[in-house]
């Protein structure tokens, strides 16, 4: 009887591990339009309204916790910020949240005008969930293929580049953030036009790195990085040109072939509530 119980327990464990590995293998090898992916996207589409409802219902809790976090952070800042903090304490949390949303949306409109991308089929979306782990940095937004969103499209906020669309369902899209381990984008220094590739810095969610520059490239602290857009028509870039990415905070081994440029992204990916998805790229402008 005891042996039977042990055998059964081990069989169940083996079955679950094998099941996980089979799912993993099938999911990993599944193409974007594959059957398993379709089932997963279908299930996620069903869950999306529930998640969206929960996300809205729990927003006051998040805002409250965010407010507490901001308070702690502000304690370490200068007197002026302390004064602002004392004032901010008197303002109700939900009014603060509405102001932040308003500012975010205004910055987005300013960015659209500055980059002249109003005619690129911009789709505004609300962030409804975030990935909880350090390696895969993604967010889920509430607009999907029904609104013209497709895989690979660039995602922006008023402050700059957020990432690209990684997966799409009828009423949602998963956005791979600039800080995701798999992200990469062609970039240039806006002051000098020096090209390179921006990649994330694993484990540092508020930092990016610019690589593949040459030893003679003079990049300095404080320089601004923007997307390079398409430089070779054979390899069109998914990003419109001149979208702000971040500011150079440090240059490691300057003047060498292996120099690494540390960049602080303009967008705080942990604090994004609204995004815009560019659904119609104009090849002559990219």
């Amino acid at each position: 009887m005891h042996d039977k119980t042990i055998r059964r327990r081990r069989l169940v464990l083996l079955g679950l591990v094998v099941g996980s590995l089979l799912l993993l293998t099938a999911s990993f090898g599944d193409s974007a339009g594959g059957g398993l992916g379709a089932i997963q996207r279908g299930a996620s589409a069903v869950l999306t309204p529930v998640q969206e409802g929960a996300s809205r219902a729990l927003k006051p809790v998040r805002d409250g916790a965010g407010w507490v976090g901001d308070t702690f952070e502000a304690k370490g800042k200068n007197k002026e910020l302390r004064g602002d903090l004392a004032e901010a304490r008197q303002v109700r949390v939900d009014i603060d949240a509405l102001r932040r949303e308003n500012a975010e949306l205004r910055r987005m409109l300013d960015m659209n005008e500055r980059l002249q991308i109003q005619d690129m089929g911009l789709v505004a979306a609300r962030v409804i969930t975030r990935s909880p782990n350090v390696i895969n940095q993604t967010i889920k937004v509430n607009q999907g293929s029904a609104q013209g969103v497709a895989k690979g499209q660039p995602v922006l906020t008023g402050s700059g580049l957020v990432g690209t669309v990684d997966a799409v369902g009828p009423n949602f899209a998963i956005v791979e953030l600039v800080t995701d381990a798999d992200f990469g984008a062609g970039a240039k220094v806006s002051q000098s036009g020096i090209p390179g590739v921006v990649t994330p810095a694993a484990g540092a969610p508020r930092e990016l790195r610019m690589e593949y520059t040459e030893a003679t490239d003079d990049v300095r602290r404080g320089n601004t990085l923007v997307t390079s857009g398409t430089s070779d028509p054979e390899f069109p870039s998914p990003f419109p040109p001149d979208v702000p990415i971040g500011r150079v905070i440090e240059v490691e081994d300057p003047g060498s072939d292996s120099q690494v440029i540390h960049v602080r992204p303009f967008v705080d990916v942990r604090d994004v509530n609204f995004v815009e998805i560019v659904t119609k790229m104009d090849p002559s402008r990219s």
Binding site: L16, G19, T25, S27, G66, V134, A201, G203, D271
Partner: protein, 188 residues
């Protein structure tokens, strides 16, 4: 309804609730540049209360829920959570620990296993992230932040599952020994 059916329903609802709460709220609260993950805690505590086999099955399903909700690679979370669920269930079956610090210790272990296990599986799948001090620090901080939630999550899981659990003979025996006159030693 039979006890096992009630338990099944409660486990299913608990798993769904944990995943919805995690992706809709907990993931969006940033503490020290990272966020807590309550799903490994729920998996570990459910397994601690129900045993290795139900715990591992619950862990597998919870992993499926979260991979589906995030449209991630299916099976990754299930694989990591099955190890946590089975381990926590075996802890109960072999030791049946009763200290009030057990949820805290188990929560820390489950959070660490989830954070490092998930990173390991991602590396094995080819994620191009260099293993750096910052990454390790981030994983450790994520573990500590999740551990802070261990006690309230344990209380919630216990409240949800205990009424549906079958009476455990070991616990019945322990109650008998610890309630004065009911001890067999005190009988004539």
């Amino acid at each position: 309804m039979a006890t096992s059916a009630v338990l099944l329903v409660r486990l299913g609802a608990l798993g769904l609730l944990a995943v919805v709460l995690q992706v809709s709220a907990v993931s969006q609260l940033t503490v020290f540049d990272t966020n807590a993950d309550v799903v490994p805690l729920v998996v570990a505590f459910a397994a601690l209360l129900t045993g290795a086999v139900p715990g591992a099955i619950f862990a597998f399903v919870a992993g499926l829920f979260i991979d589906t909700a995030l449209v991630g690679t299916l099976g990754v979370s299930s694989l990591v959570y099955v190890a946590i669920g089975y381990g926590a269930g075996r802890l109960r079956e072999l030791r049946d620990p009763q200290s009030s610090l057990v949820p805290l210790a188990l929560g820390a272990a489950a959070s660490a296993a989830a954070a490092f296990g998930f990173a390991l599986v991602q590396f094995l799948l080819g994620a191009e992230a260099p293993v750096s001090f910052e990454l390790i620090r981030q994983l450790v901080v994520a573990t500590l932040v999740s551990t802070l939630l261990a006690l309230p999550v344990y209380a919630g899981v216990r409240r949800a599952l205990v009424p549906a659990l079958p009476d455990d003979p070991r616990r019945r025996r322990r109650r008998a020994y610890t309630t004065g006159g009911l001890s067999p030693l005190s009988r004539p």
